[in-house]
């Protein structure tokens, strides 16, 4: 495939259809050709060169994904600086992504700019997303609610799919086989004529799963299979009017010992780009997504249904955006939209729905040549909680041609989720405790009182830690302010970035006790209470030793603490139980370890080698994270040095080799976790040995292009 300048331009236009037509055209061509791979759309919702951005953004190009031989979103994110995939504290739970120490609940995931839904206890399972047909992954670190609204506190992950670019039908078939009978087949077909383009992608993954616990029944990850279907259509009515349509469907079925566990996820996106002039453009977008899970546990002997948990979430969102470039360096972006969201869940009394409307504006300008400033804000009006105004400002100053300083301050928020508002749950099997969402807590508690389930004092008066009249007060959105200050150096073969960050979270939603039942079990409700912070430093270095040999290294330093716990410990000290004597001992601030699942140090190292004479390539990738704690185990509610729940620091080393035969056949062999690290989970017992990692995983991959 030969690429001339015209082809470059065509590819560029299609892959950046979110972007700014006028701006693109007016930029000079040399930038386009030199930095074709280094353009992002997530940071500003316009096409921007990565190196010129005033905020921290990580770009993962297609080539890196292909060379690494991984097929799921979580696997490639894990190898990036400052991004950690954390295991769920309870065994068998999914993994969550963490950016700048901020948990998965507060990170927004987009596909081609539209959000995916379907979180289990706040956690979005990133292994759901196949990455066989993508152009690049963009990760914006720090609060981005000024553009994206709720959930974008810690950052935004945007998966940008590949656009078709050849007039002849082209495609590829890939099969990857790995340890644990992990079989992944991918077929994709693309074609682009003058006006019409299409792209079809099918992915099937199945595995026998694996077990991290020795000596128990069942497996940690049960066998499962899943399918991803994605079809996309591109049509140009004229140079000024283009339409894009995309449909994606995901189906996953777990083979559980008794019962069923099924997951379905579908989205439909329709976008119309209307260029008014060379300088301004409208984008109209309709988006619908539906996420469904059905879980059923059946008593294997009696054949009775023990647990029936269904979850059905829908989001419909029309959005309009407008861009206007006054000149090359001045761009105004405006937008607005409406979210209709519903959730039908077994644990809720009835189907619940949210409505929200929003508008946003952003101005990207250069007051003078060396300074670029982006100011923006978004206003969200919501049917169930307070409206939110989320401003953000960022700036980059070029001190020298190769050296720039950049900084940003932004705010983020996360709307209380359906669970925190509408849950009506009593655990009949274990302990009989009850949990009520904010909107139903008053009715729920009154129901328990009417049933005479709540304890009373001598005179028959109810004992209520929270007075009834204080119940049902609306929850505030959880919010954060993030600060980033960094330096970038970029000269020839060397590229280096240093970034200091701080994120202050307030109004985090926590549970509190509303009452105690006669049987001793508690009744819980939700309240805004916690405030935490994360701060530290990120360093990213890249060195291209030779044209075909590159090294990169990354490091993140992280401090993550709960401010309330810190204050309490500083003022009054705290207590823990000595795990040996079981007696109370006093502890101070120094012995407070910080938030769960946070490693103080994370490191990554990657080297990629290409040998054109042999049509071969090789790479080595190392990821290290230092000691982290899983949960408080000595009853004081926070992680301290006495807690027996720490996982020791460990490194995962991944290796892969690839070779191309007869131009179209690519073979890849490799191993992930080549040192066969297994580790020991602190929840292990004498009977049940629990590993942290299932050990070495070999893989082979064949890719045929046509």
């Amino acid at each position: 495939m030969s690429l001339n300048k015209n082809n470059y331009l065509i590819i560029f236009f299609f892959m950046c259809s979110l972007g700014l037509w006028a701006q693109v055209e007016s930029k000079n061509d040399s930038i386009l050709t030199e930095n074709l791979d280094e353009v992002v759309v997530t940071a500003t919702r316009t096409v921007r060169q990565l190196s010129s951005l005033p905020l921290p953004v990580t770009l993962i190009p297609k080539k890196q994904i292909a060379r690494s031989g991984v097929t799921r979103l979580d696997e490639i994110l894990e190898e990036q600086t400052g991004i950690v995939l954390t295991p769920d504290a309870t065994i068998g739970g999914g993994e969550g992504v963490q950016i700048q120490g901020i948990a998965s609940d507060y990170i927004l995931v987009l596909i081609d700019g539209v959000p995916v839904v379907g979180r289990s206890s706040g956690n979005l399972d990133l292994s759901r997303f196949a990455i066989g047909n993508i152009k690049q992954i963009e990760v914006v670190k720090g609060p981005s609610s000024a553009l994206f609204g709720s959930e974008a506190l810690g950052g935004v992950i945007n998966i940008i799919t590949e656009k078709p670019n050849t007039s002849k039908m082209s495609g590829q078939v890939t099969h990857r086989a790995a340890t644990f009978n992990n079989q992944n087949t991918t077929v994709s077909i693309n074609q682009r004529n003058k006006e019409l383009g299409y792209s079809i992608f099918v992915d099937r993954l199945s595995t026998d799963g694996f077990d991290l616990v020795n000596g128990d029944e069942g497996q940690t990850i049960n066998p499962f299979f899943n399918y991803t279907f994605n079809g996309r259509l591109f049509y140009d009515f004229s140079d000024n009017l283009r339409v894009f349509a995309s449909g994606r469907y995901f189906l996953q079925d777990f083979e559980v010992p008794s019962g069923t566990s099924e997951e379905r996820d579908g989205n439909v996106q329709l976008r119309l780009d209307h260029k008014l002039s060379k300088k301004s453009q409208f984008e109209y977008e309709l988006y619908y997504t539906n996420y469904v899970t059905n879980e059923q546990t059946v008593d294997p002997i009696e054949n009775e249904i023990l647990l029936d948990n269904d979850f059905d979430q829908k989001l419909f969102r029309p959005e309009v955006r407008f861009n206007n470039s006054f000149d090359v360096d001045n761009t105004l972006t405006l937008g607005g939209g409406y979210n209709f969201e519903t959730l039908d869940r077994s644990l809720f009394g009835e189907q619940v729905s949210f409505d929200s409307q929003y508008v946003f504006a952003q101005y990207d300008f250069k007051p003078f040549e060396k300074l670029n400033v982006i100011v923006g804000a978004r206003f969200d009006n919501h049917s169930e909680y307070n409206s939110q105004l989320s401003p953000k400002i960022s700036a980059r100053y070029a001190i020298a041609p190769n050296f720039a300083i950049k900084g940003s301050v932004g705010s983020g928020f996360k709307a209380p989720d359906f669970r925190q508002l509408y849950l009506d749950f009593t655990n009949a099997q274990g302990g009989n405790y009850s949990v009520f969402g904010k909107e139903v807590e008053l009715q729920g508690l009154e129901r328990l009182i009417a049933n005479n389930e709540i304890i009373t004092d001598t005179n028959g008066n109810l004992i209520l830690p929270v007075p009834l009249e204080d119940l049902g007060e609306p929850l505030n959105a959880e919010s954060s302010i993030g600060y980033n200050l960094g330096f970038g150096y970029n000269k020839g073969k060397f590229k280096g970035d240093v970034n200091f960050y701080r994120n202050d979270f307030t109004d985090l939603i926590d549970t509190r006790i509303l009452a105690t039942k006669r049987n001793g079990a508690n009744v819980f409700g939700y309240i805004n209470r916690e405030s935490v912070y994360t701060q530290g430093l990120e360093v990213d270095l890249k060195y291209e030793v030779l044209e075909n040999l590159s090294f990169s290294a990354g490091y993140q330093l992280l401090y993550a603490f709960d401010k309330n716990v810190e204050d309490e410990l500083e003022e009054n000290g705290g207590f823990v139980r000595d795990p040996e004597t079981l007696q109370t001992v006093e502890i101070s601030r120094d012995e407070y370890f910080g938030l769960e699942n946070r490693s103080r140090h994370t490191l990554n190292f990657k080297t990629f080698l290409e040998i054109p004479e042999w049509n071969a390539n090789a790479n080595l990738r190392v990821v290290y994270r230092s000691k982290f704690g899983l949960a408080d185990r000595n009853g004081n509610g926070y992680l301290d040095d006495f807690d027996d729940s720490f996982v020791d620091g460990f490194a995962l080393v991944n290796l892969s080799f690839g070779k191309t035969f007869f131009k179209h056949y690519q073979v890849q062999l490799g191993a992930n976790n080549i040192l066969d690290f297994r580790g020991e989970n602190p929840f292990s017992t004498a009977l049940n040995q629990i590993q942290v990692n299932p050990g070495i995983q070999f893989f082979g991959r064949l890719n045929i292009q046509f």
């Binding site: 309870t90 655990n427 009949a428 099997q429 274990g430 302990g431 009989n432 405790y433 304890i455 009373t456 004092d457 001598t458 005179n459 028959g460 004992i463 006790i513 105690t516 006669r518 049987n519 001793g520 079990a521 508690n522 705290g574 207590f575 823990v576 139980r577 795990p579 040996e580 079981l582 007696q583 109370t584 001992v585 006093e586 000595n634 009853g635 004081n636 027996d644 017992t685 004498a686 009977l687 049940n688």
Partner: protein
């Protein structure tokens, strides 16, 4: 010189007097000792979705340091996660022992050693609908970890009791499981629960609030 002698004489007499008074008074006090009560069984019928809680409480006397069947000479009593005191009235659950003493309870924050006196504390008694030591996770003496099914005594919560006959004791509960294991496996959590092990210091001297052991 004379004055020095006089001074020494005085000192000598004073010392003799002090020593004498010590000798004279000490036998009147019984030494305050630190003890451990192990594996006090606290069986319970029902609860946790198994119907209404019932079954007799296991009564304990600080004076004897042992479980007792006496209907009057007991100070505190255990059934499952509930701790009753022999003071106040019945809370209203099934099979509760009759309160006929003047016992009470107070929860003090600190290490076991840091609680040195019962002076100035407010003692609660059992009452209709509420034990003096509140039930529920994180309310009284324990935390219940639902996913792990483990009851752990809250660190830094020292229970100070007035006994049925007006003496004082302090208690630190160490474990709710048989033989107070340092690691509670799911097996132990599911089978060997409702066994209290606690450290206590009891001051057997009438009216004495001191809770430091010798």
């Amino acid at each position: 010189m004379k004055t020095t002698l006089k001074l020494f004489g005085l000192l000598f007499m004073l010392m003799a007097f002090v020593a004498c008074s010590d000798d004279d008074e000490e036998p009147q006090f019984i030494a305050v000792q630190s003890n451990t009560a192990s594996n006090i069984p606290a069986p319970q019928v029902g609860g946790f979705g198994q119907g209404e809680i019932s079954g007799p409480f296991t009564k304990f006397s600080f004076a004897t340091g042992a479980v007792t069947d006496s209907d009057t000479e007991w100070d505190i009593a255990f059934r499952g996660l509930s701790i009753a005191v022999n003071g106040g009235t019945e809370t209203g659950t099934n099979d509760e022992p009759v309160r006929n003493g003047n016992a009470g309870a107070a929860i003090v924050d600190g290490t076991f050693a840091s609680v040195t006196s019962a002076e100035g504390l407010t003692f609660e008694q059992d009452a209709t609908g509420a034990f003096a030591i509140p039930g529920g996770s994180d309310n009284g003496w324990y935390n219940y970890n639902q996913p792990l099914n483990i009851v752990s005594p809250l660190p830094g919560k020292i229970l100070v009791f007035r006994t049925h006959d007006g003496k004082f004791a302090k208690v630190e509960i160490l474990s709710y499981y048989r033989d107070a294991p340092s690691e509670i496996t799911p097996d132990i959590a599911g089978n060997d629960f409702r066994f209290y092990t606690f450290n206590y210091v009891y001051n057997p001297n009438e009216g004495e609030t001191d809770l430091t052991s010798q």
